[in-house]
Symmetry: C2
Subunit: 232 residues, 2 copies
């Protein structure tokens, strides 16, 4: 397996290129529009065929590269079934399996940060989007965020994965690149709560500023990162 | 093996925490002074014992965390034998093996970016410092940099490693986290030269500005990141 973590310094987003060497099939998870040329160059250099680009959720802090990638490569583009984005070719749902050559990604619905947040579980690792971050969790105060739903996604889904599962989030602001489920269960300050209510109170008390790009990024991302008259 | 790549956003430095799970022994490569608290927290959370911190070379763009790590943990600190830093406990030389539990790092002398640049070769990966970067190479215009020596380090040492060896550099400015030897041989623009002289001409023609922190970082790093009267 080829597994490449790519970092967007402006939004601190991690994008993942996952590919099966034998078949050459590749997918991109959470691509950022500004870096599409970089992704395409890497895909070409590694002699891969991009079959799918997918977002874990509608991002509020950067514009997705999904639409541009489809335009450039004719790859399929996808989001979760709860995403109100009619621009995608396919909407994934919990229990579905994405295949990249013989690599399998199990789709897990993990709402809370937004109501359209999904995680992708692989054999030894999980892409957690903004649901579970390294020593943090995604905020729950916009885009139908819901701390109760996030508690359920965290405690009843993600933290039930095997202890040594590698955690690859969609963002990190502190230079951490990877963690594990057991580390997050033990040391993630947001997860040291005794009850769902305690988690809800913690999240509701955060009082964060809106992301700078939110008013631009969300409508744009509902159109897969393209202007409404630019979708295809 | 625990292998953690940590990113310093200010200087775009990658620091590596490498540890042997069974023995708990750990080393840090190229720590940045501003992030020492983060490293120590991670070492503690992972229940590790930091036995060594080492720099691939005297950095000009950030202040090393070596001295602070020794003060905080009593770990040994090291650089290569060509580093004019009397503050270290140990100077490594080509052919030496560093042991972290049963993990082995072979020391390779790879001058060119500076005359004190070393790489550390592991079973499936290599830490290349500033000698080989992802789609780049370290500049050779200060600190006894030498494009001829770098050509030799690159073409006669690093590029002779197995094709699929993972390349982990000390910096990346474009959000790339890892590469491989074959990728760099094929696609690194600095390595598409027909002769040593062509490489020397290419590097001598770069005309780069000095790193912002150079006048502060180099003298400080010769003292392991501590003021001269603060070394121990």
């Amino acid at each position: 397996m080829i597994f490449r973590q790519l970092f967007d310094r402006e939004s601190c987003t991690y994008t993942y290129l996952i590919a099966h060497e034998k078949s050459g099939e590749a997918i991109l998870v959470d691509p950022v529009i500004n870096n599409v040329a970089q992704y395409l160059q890497l895909v070409e250099e590694l002699d891969l065929n991009l079959v799918l680009a997918i977002d874990t959720h509608i991002h509020a802090d950067h514009i997705t590269g999904l639409g541009a990638l489809r335009t450039e490569t004719l790859c399929a583009i996808a989001m979760g079934e709860h995403a109100k984005a009619e621009c995608v070719n396919h909407k994934v749902r919990e229990g579905e399996q994405l295949k990249v050559g013989d690599i399998r990604l199990d789709v897990l619905y993990t709402p809370g940060h937004t109501d359209d947040s999904y995680s992708f579980v692989m054999q030894d690792r999980v892409l957690t989007g903004d649901t579970l971050l390294i020593r943090g969790t995604g905020r729950t105060d916009f885009q139908n965020g819901d701390p109760s739903a996030q508690y359920d996604s965290l405690f009843n889904k993600l933290l039930k994965l095997p202890d040594d599962t590698l955690v690859y989030p969609a963002h990190d602001y502190n230079g951490m690149t990877v963690s594990t489920i057991i580390e997050e269960r033990m040391y993630n300050p947001r997860l040291q709560v005794g009850s769902e209510q305690e988690y809800v109170d913690l999240m509701n008390g955060l009082k964060l500023d809106d992301p700078k790009l939110m008013d631009i990024a969300v409508p744009s991302n509902l159109a897969c990162g393209q202007a409404p008259d630019d979708t295809n």
